[in-house]
Point group: C2
């Protein structure tokens, strides 16, 4: 076992962070499409291949910050207080996530994402992965006995709520409105 004080890991993390920071700065500065991978690599003073060893694609550079998004949702399910109902816990977490990305400073980034088709597609694909994780977390909760299909369905609905509320004129109200629907859908699956 290696003690977590690796110097390698620190260097690697530093390189990764530097690339992500440089990339975001350039993208916001000149526009996502106007900045090439080679530009980012040059400005971060790394080789193109190094950049791709840290990030799977150009789009991934933009979403490097919001890692843990996935974890927050699954933990909201797993870390509930005993017997706390599922849907309110998820609503609370989704509201927090929506607030986080409709906050002041985040506006330029989300604007950029909506502008670029590639970034939109990448985020949609990310959301699906998150939905799968969430479905697994719901299925694993010992106090919730539902079919696999129900778990996957509710997970998708929750992710939809996040996506839709973010785009709504009044995000908080939209979260409430959509979660009333999700609550009803969940209740309809209560086993006899």
């Amino acid at each position: 076992m290696t003690v977590p004080t690796g110097r390698r890991e620190r260097k690697k993390a530093a390189t990764r962070k530097k690339i992500a920071d440089v990339a975001l700065r350039l993208f916001l500065d000149r526009g996502y499409d106007a900045v090439g991978i080679r530009d980012v690599a040059a400005e971060a003073d790394v080789a193109v291949t190094t950049l791709f060893s840290h990030f799977g694609s150009k789009e991934a550079l933009v979403f490097a910050q919001d890692e843990g998004f996935e974890q927050r949702l699954t933990q909201a399910v797993a870390d509930r207080a005993p017997r706390e109902p599922l849907i309110p816990a998820l609503r609370r977490e989704v509201r927090a996530l929506v607030r986080h990305c409709t906050a002041e400073g985040a506006a330029p980034v989300w604007h950029m994402i909506e502008e670029s088709r590639a970034l939109r597609e990448y985020e949609e694909s990310m959301r699906l992965r998150h939905a799968e994780s969430l479905a697994a977390a719901i299925a694993a909760a010992p106090d919730l006995t539902r079919t696999v299909t129900v778990c996957r369905t509710i997970a998708r609905f929750v992710i939809d709520a996040y996506a839709l509320a973010r785009e709504a004129a009044e995000p908080d109200a939209a979260v409430d409105e959509i979660f009333r629907m999700i609550e009803a859908a969940w209740e309809a699956t209560r086993p006899a």
Copy 2:
């Protein structure tokens, strides 16, 4: 106004069809990733630029067949019998769509789609567009008075149902199970 008997249009349609057919054959034969755009163009005896004037991307070649998917959903909403409730009409249509693509002959194509990351992402993106169209159709129905957010939410749920049922072990049963949830969600939004 032009009479629809143009020879040009027939030729164009023939070229388009030939490209799509050749592409699908090659993809199923050698695998999606192993076949390049230049291969398809050469085999269909057209220039690469011609191919791209008919199809927006390599992925679009695969989905050339299922055009009208979008229309079927929006028409299921618009063409309801007077006072026919929304959700059963949508369930009927979704069931038909799911059956259509879980039928015998379609299996190799869907297998190919699930294998390729690019194709999966493309289809997800397509589904989102379909959800937006469906939301517009629901919002435009004169007998359904709901907020914009509710319309968009229900539309997403319906598209989710389609996607999830397709992957389920028993697609028909999954459609029923998910639509019970959607029905409940929709009822919860009934105005006082």
